[in-house]
């Protein structure tokens, strides 16, 4: 599964691979907005990958008592390993593929995926027995059960997990964009252009103005996404809740 994710990440990276070194003298509000755009793009791609991977993993872990016994402890171990422990390995792997953007997306993906997996597992576990029995009895089985019962039933937890995952992504964004600290003899030229790397560069160069503007833009973006995306989705997901 990680190989599939890495391959997907590489394909996406090829589509929008822009790694502009942060030059602290040329930062304007337009630069900040462009950086925010790149950061968001990375977060969104990592999030979408995390959703695509989480759904089958959650279903797999709950499909039978046997898979539950095998996968739940395994997932618990994976999610307990600190994300930064993977970082040097991932960086080296992606450097060999000449894709630092891939490394950033992979790091963001790993920081997000377990939040979604575990909330989805919780969601599947609270599907009432009567609903499962009704679906079975009325012929909703196999893929039809997955598409028409399981996926909608997971919707509220998918939204909750997504909020947690995105928050985790914002937490790790600096680490994901300021890559040179993990590369032997790395320089800031190897950092990825984004709001996280601008924050670090501004801080290192003592540009408090830029730093504060970057923080402000980031907070504004987080608030905007929360209000116009997550709150709307949370409201929409109420319809999918079991009483």
């Amino acid at each position: 599964m990680p190989l599939v994710v890495m391959a997907l990440a590489v394909i996406v990276v090829k589509l929008f691979a822009v790694a502009v070194p942060v030059s602290s003298d040329t930062i304007t509000i337009n630069t900040l907005l462009a950086a925010l755009g790149f950061t968001l793009l990375r977060l969104i791609v990592a999030y979408l990958l995390a959703v695509i991977v989480s759904i089958p993993l959650a279903v797999l872990a709950t499909v039978s008592p046997l898979t539950r016994a095998i996968f739940l402890p395994m997932f618990d171990i994976f999610q307990s390993v600190p994300i930064l422990a993977f970082f040097p390995v991932i960086i080296l792997a992606f450097i060999s593929m000449k894709s630092l953007m891939g490394a950033a997306i992979m790091i963001l993906f790993l920081s997000m995926v377990w939040n979604i997996v575990f909330t989805l597992i919780g969601g599947i576990n609270v599907i009432p027995h009567d609903i499962i029995a009704a679906a079975h009895l009325f012929g909703l089985r196999g893929f039809a059960y997955f598409r028409k019962v399981l996926l909608p039933a997971m919707m509220p937890q998918l939204i909750t997990g997504s909020i947690l995952a995105f928050a985790q992504g914002w937490n790790i964004i600096i680490v994901a964009e300021v890559l040179h600290t993990y590369i032997p003899h790395g320089t800031s030229a190897q950092d990825l252009f984004g709001i996280g790397s601008i924050l670090v560069a501004a801080s290192a160069n003592g540009q408090n103005n830029v730093f504060l503007w970057a923080v402000f833009v980031m907070i504004l973006a987080i608030a905007f996404i929360n209000f116009f995306v997550w709150q709307k989705l949370l409201h929409y997901a109420q319809r999918y809740r079991f009483e």
Binding site: P128, D130, A134, R239
Partner: protein, 246 residues
Amino acid sequence: MPNVIDSNNAIVFKGVGKTYLKESVFALHDVSFSVARGSFTCLIGPSGCGKSTILKLIAGLEKPSVGSVQTPPTKNIAMVFQSGALFPWLTALENVAIVLQARDSTMTKAKARQKAEEFLQLVNLAALGEKYPADLSGGQRQRVGIARALAVQPEVLLLDEPFSALDPKTTAELHDDLLRLWKQTGTTIVAVSHLIEEAVVLADSILLIKEGTIAEHYAVTIEYPRRDRETAFIQEVHRIRKDFFA
């Protein structure tokens, strides 16, 4: 599980036992009975006596540990659940239409919706087809559940205490609706109830389940509609009540 049964009976249980290994408990033991085609049978008994387990065995949701259960194929069985078990993200109409398409993959969406409308009409809910379950009352939700079950035109309709959470007025209305639909369709109905009065109002055959087995079988011959103030009704209830609490 053999599904070949004689022409008179829709369901036959022979020496059925059910043990849940996890709890090491006998849910059922030595259960034998048959349900005549077109009859209305009610399973009554105290909580935990095994009524719902019998229903699950008929529905094919559980397998017997011993003995044999002969029923029509699962595709000819439908069930109305205590909780309603409606999909909250679908409208009343979609809740009925989805099972029509699931049971018949060749049915178009338009045809399924049209048929679903007909069955919602049958339970007097045609005007509420576009409402979501959360916007319906408990009685309306159960009506959708009945419409959904009848829409697949089952040979056997199972009812798992569908009226237990409803107020007396709504329950009485649904009893009347159910008896009307039973007469119209001739479907074999097996219902679970913990209320003797409800069983006597509805059923022409009552099985008293105690401690995981059939304790008594009653044939109820009172004319429909049955009113709880009539002498025959009261006598029948008293007769069963005596055994129920013995």
